[in-house]
Symmetry: C2
Subunit: 599 residues, 2 copies
């Protein structure tokens, strides 16, 4: 349905539409630069440990996380329409990458890395194509309860999956059931040195996230300063534990460390061009694309609304697509707009996507200079970073609230959580989408319909079940509160035929079309069949209050020519014609009283 011109978003056209940087870049000034730089520094400090941690979560070498935090940020700055979205590796997409690639190759092999890179490129191509084709609406397949349930379950799986790193045992598995099973089998071989470094780190990170800011402000720091320092918690943990691992020679005690990270910027390279591989990752790539897009667009829209800015959902697809293609071609894995870092970026005062580009510069510098210092970084530290980050995603309260609001939405959410926990991320998201669609079709296949009668003394017609109205014995007027299309076409036929079968005295059926915004070909055929069926049993079919666009379309078919009854401008006109004694009887007597009562 075309949007009326006044509602069309006031978006730039031409090249500016596809390169928003031309728009904001032209007005860039020194004050904006300062704001963007400050935000970039804060986000970079946050992103260094996260990028390493999410690479670990995806089962990839640490440098892949760094690579995924450079090119994608620059590309999003060129193409993105959100001023404050922080793009890069995120927890849920990393988990989905691990699930998808883990089915194809073993961790640590070149095939595993190649598949992750191909996944980023393919996901990027899909996102770009969807953007160019204006297919942003497919993200609507994911209802809020499904995505919320999925993220809660993914958070639990991620947190559970990191516990083995903190206990120094072998882990693995793609569902909560698998992960807990393997962990239980391996509990005997806990490495105490790893626990000794992992547990305090976990406790410190939790404290830094939940309490440090309040603790600092209580000690006299400004709100801004306390918040900024609190955000350096993960970097402090990285520095302290790497130092401790070096000083106490912890690797010799069995503590797993990050080890060699190749220094230097990523070298552009093509992903593996293996059609069989691409076919195998097509479905995961689509799921990662859609889940990532929904996550990203939600936070982008929320933040834009706070500053009365606009984002263009289709251009966002193109920007995220470019970011993922860039990530893959520079040796990275799938990225998207992350919730936590975007909020930090916004709060830190980022004004334009240039802040993201500056973050990329920061990450590039880190890649060039910091990697030797990360050699002794314990993997347990990264695992603790992940656990603290993702537990904020887990929100069972949403399940309770959704269930209280709507049983159907609550059921879809519970199913998504259970299937994700029990069978992994891909079955979970697919089950959620399928159930949402089924419930949606179930609902639209049974629209609200009311038999209406005349409110005495007025030209209004209301539901006979709720109002004291008058009706004629040989006329039934049915108001359909929904557009007529294939999910409900048969239902309308069924409803009308039930009336006709139950009331032998019936001579006229009037369908009141005041809420019908569309009649598709299925509904048209149903109406034609209904008209013919009613004709055979001596009942004529009328329409009333048909809207202009619906009428235009009906006139392109034979339906109006074959209609046994008429199309009436209003429901009152229809009744005046079909039951004149009824309208005359009630109208004259009541008009004055009702008008008086209405004042």
């Amino acid at each position: 349905m075309p949007l009326p011109s006044k509602l069309r978003p006031a978006l730039p056209v031409g090249l500016r539409r596809y390169l928003p940087i031309l728009d904001w870049g032209a007005r860039y000034d020194r004050a904006t630069l300062r704001d963007d730089l400050i935000a970039a520094i804060i986000v970079t400090i946050m992103l260094i440990p996260q990028s390493l941690a999410y690479a670990l979560l995806a089962g990839l070498p640490a440098e892949v996380g760094l690579y995924a935090s450079i090119a994608p940020l620059v590309l999003y700055a060129l193409f993105g329409t959100s001023r404050t979205l922080a793009v890069g590796p995120v927890a849920v997409a990393s988990l989905m990458t691990a699930a998808a690639v883990g089915q194809l190759a073993a961790q640590g092999t070149p095939e595993y890395l190649g598949a992750a890179i191909a996944l980023a490129v393919l996901s990027g191509l899909m996102l770009t194509a969807m953007g160019l084709l204006r297919l942003g609406f497919v993200a609507n397949f994911l209802s809020h309860p499904v995505i919320a349930g999925f993220i809660t379950a993914a958070g639990l799986i991620i947190a559970a999956g990191q516990l083995p790193h903190i206990l120094g045992i072998a882990g693995g598995g793609h569902s909560l059931v698998e992960i807990l099973g393997r962990m239980a089998a391996d509990l005997g071989s806990v490495n105490l040195a790893t626990v000794a470094i992992g547990m305090p780190t976990l406790a410190f990170l939790w404290w830094a996230r939940a309490r440090m800011k309040a603790w600092l402000t209580a000690r006299g720091l400004s709100d801004m300063a306390a918040g900024t320092i609190a955000r350096t918690g993960p970097v402090m943990a990285v520095a302290a534990t790497a130092l401790a691992a070096w000083a106490f020679a912890l690797p010799a005690a069995g503590v797993a460390i990050v080890g060699d990270i190749p220094a230097g910027l990523p070298v552009p390279a093509l992903p593996p061009l293996d059609l069989g591989l691409w076919a195998q990752i097509a479905v995961p790539a689509l799921l990662i694309s859609i889940v990532g897009y929904v996550e990203s667009i939600s936070v982008a829209q929320t933040l834009a609304a706070k500053r009365r800015q606009r984002i263009d959902p289709d251009q966002e697809l193109i920007a995220l697509g470019a970011a993922n293609i860039g990530s893959g071609l520079s040796g990275g894995f799938p990225v998207t707009g992350g919730f936590a870092r975007s909020v930090v970026n916004f709060d830190a005062g980022a004004q334009t996507p240039a802040a993201g580009a500056f973050t990329a510069v920061g990450m590039a510098l880190a890649t060039l200079t910091l990697t030797p210092a990360l050699y002794f970084l314990p993997k347990a530290t990264l695992a603790a970073t992940i656990i603290v980050a993702v537990l904020s995603l887990v929100d069972f309260g949403a399940l309770r609230r959704t269930w209280a609001y709507s049983r159907k939405d609550g059921a879809a959410m519970a199913a998504t959580i259970l299937v994700t926990l029990g069978f992994g991320v891909e079955p979970g998201i697919i089950a959620g989408v399928a159930l949402s669609l089924l419930l949606h079709l179930y609902r639209t296949s049974r629209p609200h319909v009311a038999i209406v009668g005349q409110v005495p003394g007025t030209e209004h017609f209301r539901n006979v079940e709720r109002h004291a109205v008058v009706t004629a014995p040989d006329v039934v007027s049915i108001r359909v509160d929904e557009s007529l299309y294939f999910p409900n076409a048969r239902f309308l036929e069924d409803t009308v035929l039930a009336q006709v079968a139950a009331r032998p005295e019936l001579r006229h059926v009037v369908l009141m079309f005041s809420a019908v915004n569309e009649v598709d070909a299925s509904a048209l055929e149903t109406l034609e069949g209904l008209n013919a069926g009613l004709k055979a049993s001596g009942v004529s079919l009328h329409l009333s209050e048909v809207k202009g666009p619906v009428m235009d379309r009906l006139q392109r078919s034979h339906f109006l020519a074959d209609l046994t009854g008429e199309v009436h401008l209003t429901q009152y006109d229809a009744m005046k014609r079909l039951a004149p004694e009824l309208t005359a009887r009630t109208l004259a007597a009541c008009r004055r009283d009702t008008l008086r009562a209405a004042e």
Copy 2:
């Protein structure tokens, strides 16, 4: 959404609901018996050649067609709610059976027959389960254009697939492309004796269907007699060609004949209990179930409407399920209600499902006595029967009409036809369903929304694009012509934020909910986000004309408590409150003029 009680179909309850025979059987009398018997005889004459032909089409021995025409008819008579539906083998389900089973086993093997039987039982179990769970609405997944396109394409594939039988060459293939390819490769080995018997039969059957009735009435026969004789065309062709094949020893000349058909009634037996097999046929069984159900319910509803009778869509699922289980357990293949035979049954005066039971008796007698006479029946005759029967399914005019009415529906139909012809029945129906759902979601994801203003001098608010209305600069009123649920939740947010971003002077947003019948959890979350986002930018959010059930549900959430604006009973109330100078200014001056003009 629950149906208001007055609209609920007046269906029988308890045992009578599940055994409609208790209802009509109690009132059975001699006149009804006579009518049913006459109809049964006519349908039996029609069904004998069709049952053999459709077994051939499904790649099964001829007797399987006879078996599928006995038990299923009796079971439908017990459980069915249509008085006139003729159940049994039909062309499209037979083609789908051939496509499904052909992937698993070679024709003529016990595995092939076993799989076809298992397909009938599994399809029957699925239909019954759907009926007991009241899942009839899943049939709505198939829009009319998709089913019409599918049937047209299936008709073409069936007709093309029978041509080799008439030419006496080897055939095969599941898509039009395959079939034509194999036929072209084999054209050198045409059997002239087969052509000599097949082509005249084809011509005669076409003439019998299209012209014989008119020819007979022109020679003085009554309309009824001429129609009845014309319907015996296929039986005449069977008798004449079987006689000719015997008299001229055609099998020796290379004419393929039906050969031995085991005499005697089918022996009840369990289908192969092989879980691997059942898993492989699960998707085809579901597709056959749904396509068959849609075909059947369409004709049942059309015929019932003509006599002001009612059918119960959920009970129909149970009845078709029982018929298919019965078919499988008695050695038959999938069945459903057929269009042509049901119309004949109706026209011949069938009054109750007993006519179907009598047809079953006729078919049982045929199975017991006629099989030796069918030994010499050329397969070419059956192929000609099929071709003439299915070509009436092919309707390219529907494509033209649908396209003219709606581009989207036309595109879905064209895609279904092309994919079915090019890749076979299963990809075709799946592509059609997927495309319908996508187009449906695309449509509902972009509901009609209008910015409304006050019609001067009235309390009415209309679209600013279509009417001369007045608006206030700091208030925007948006009417949404659709329930709010996940497919369009984001769209609403987008629309509102576009307004806010474009109009810095805006202070109030009023959402007019007159056409909103539901707000699901996704839309609720969007509204909450919108409220918070607007609050941050100093704009308050109001609702107006919220319907009772929607309000009830909103009260179960925090939304109303957090709402920055208010919920107004009517749009006029909202404007009186938010822009009092506007309503006062226009109202007094214009009231009299407008009232006068309106009279």
